[in-house]
Amino acid sequence: MVSKIGFIVNPIAGMGGRVGLKGTDGVLHKALELGAKPVAPMKAEETLKAFLSNYSSKDEIQWFTCSGEMGADILNNVRIKKIKIIYTNAEKNTVSEDTKRACEKLLENKVDLILFCGGDGTARDIFEIVGNKIPLLGIPSGVKMHSGVFGISTGATAKMLHEFISKTLTIGEAEIMDLDEELYRKGEWNIRLFGIAKGIVEPTYVQVGKTVYESVSDDEVKDELTEHIIDEIEKYKNYLFLFGSGGTIDYIAKKMNIYNTLLGIDAVYNKKCIGKDLNEEKILNLLKKYPKTKVILSPIGAQGFILGRGNLQLSPKVIKKIGIDNIIVISTPSKLASTPVIRVDSGDKKLDRLFTKKEFMMVVIGYRLSRVVRIQTNNF
């Protein structure tokens, strides 16, 4: 079968890193002045070379790409022949607009996967156009790579591409995260959750015969997690439950017919939503009324943060008030497979130390089933 792979390179991604900038979004000229060198084309080439030499796939691939340094040049360099140029960029310095226009074309061409090279900014540009219609796989090359769509290295990305084509890996959720520019302009550095894209994940398997395992869909696992959360809510009747952000928690809330904000924090009492998309202040007010509270969190992004990325509302003040023993962490096993530790960057050293002391957390991975996962509190 012919696989249709979209291929986009953001040639300027990663240039800010070595000159101390937090990305190239809008500061390219400054990066160039500071002597930044292109990184992305090299990383993209490395990935493709690894893919071609290690994973000779019987399946044919039709590549869809952009002209020049946004794709075609690199494919030509590694002697890939089956190329269709679907977008020609207008200006010399590639900007996010080019990426977005190219993605519109990839959508039209119904590609199976978009392989891109860049950082969080590029992932966000692509996500803005394709949403969760096409799975994304990122070759890590940016300065910020918090989104869950990136491979951990060029070699690992090549392997994932091969395993996607040979159908060993499956499609799952991946968060798109990036710097919150609004806060950044105010001098605050915060990584925000922008949306839930499709990424490539290791399936969850259960043993059904002696040597036969069946992969279980993410939804089946999430159904189990829903049952678990329902039990918890029934067990702790007089507790307020804060539902964190992300796709897994959103699925659970929807299954329970409770309103939920995908990218925000909501409050649930007695299986009803009593507070939507709450900010820190609103949460603190609720905590005054409901001194007994539990918060449900799920690891977010490539590094598996449960606090400190994408949920600034859960400030140190909030978490201290709730108590770290009242945090329920849930995750699908396939997500844990890509983030074997869970990370905390609460923004408060004392609070971080409490997590460091705790060392491990019981993460719920199925109905009444949990596993021990190490907590890491270093700043990333």
Partner: protein, 394 residues
Amino acid sequence: MKRNPTAFLKETYDELVKNSFDWKLRILETGSSPHSIVEGKKVIMLCSNNYLNLSNHPRLIKESIEAAKKYGAGSGSVRAIAGTMKLHMDVEKRLAKFKRTESSLIYQTGFAANAGLIPQLAGKGDIIISDELNHGSIIDGVRLTKADRAVFKHRDMGELEKVLIDADKKYNRILVITDGVFSMDGDIAPMDEIVKLAKKYGAMTYADDAHGEGVIGDDGRGIGAHFHIEGKIDVEMGTFSKAYGVVGGLIAGSQDLVNFALNKSRTWLLSGSHPPAVAGAQLAAIDVLETEPKHVKNLWSNTNYFKKELVSMGFDTGESETPITPVMVGESSKAKKLSDRLFDEGVFALPIIFPMVARDKARIRTMMNAGLTKSDLDFMLDKFEKLGKKLGII
């Protein structure tokens, strides 16, 4: 509603066949012997659990026949009603003595022991803590409970303690379950440490020693003897189907455990008891283990030689500490190929592939037999070397 109520039977099977996940039963034309005839081909058996070759031991065969002659072909009932013969009680008494525990109980199979007893040991408000690589029968036993379940990383005592600390605060009963010898890697659970940790946090311990019974510990007394902690593991569960060369599950522990288990395990209460021939052979197996130490000794000298030679050829045998020696191959397709070629060359060993083991850890699982001679081992080693080189494994 109009439906074909049984269409799924064929559909499911066809799907299994399509993905090569169906079991293709290999028919033995001899008994399970070190040299067997499988599908018309003479092979060295390297994938049976008959570690000590006791299934072919004259005393077991004789006692089996004698018992059948004396007591008949069947037992007539479940144990609880009218199916407990003196012979069954004798086996349990002898087994407890052999295992150096206060008491013991025989189940119909090892699976019946796990599926019957585990759900009775923990329920709502309790927690079962399980090694991530535990056997499927434990997992099924655990699934039948209303207890919470927590999984710790394979043999990781640091993680186990963290779960215990957490569990100590939240639950009534705590049960730690582990395989004794792990069937895929042949490594051994650090049972002494598990017992120590469990004691510290008031937890019960349960070891499924199916692959350790008759293999580890002095004269094959199992994991309790291996760590010199006989009687300290709350439930030592095992089987007569592997090294003992017969069939049946077993538990060994306190009299309280046995009284509880036989009154509560539904599998035990609701299945017929072993036929006299089985019980006779079980008794003889214990007898042989107590009086003929050569079998266990042979098993280990064969294992050590085979393992040493494989490693010197350049094979990776993983973390194995027992007669289960995995020969690491890497990719699943290669492991299948090696297994097929070995069979062609007269060695019967099964591949273990993803997702039973990690994607890059596909292997041939070899299980040593005390009845193999040095020339048998050299014959197999020669085949492994030849094919290993051919397939680029070594």
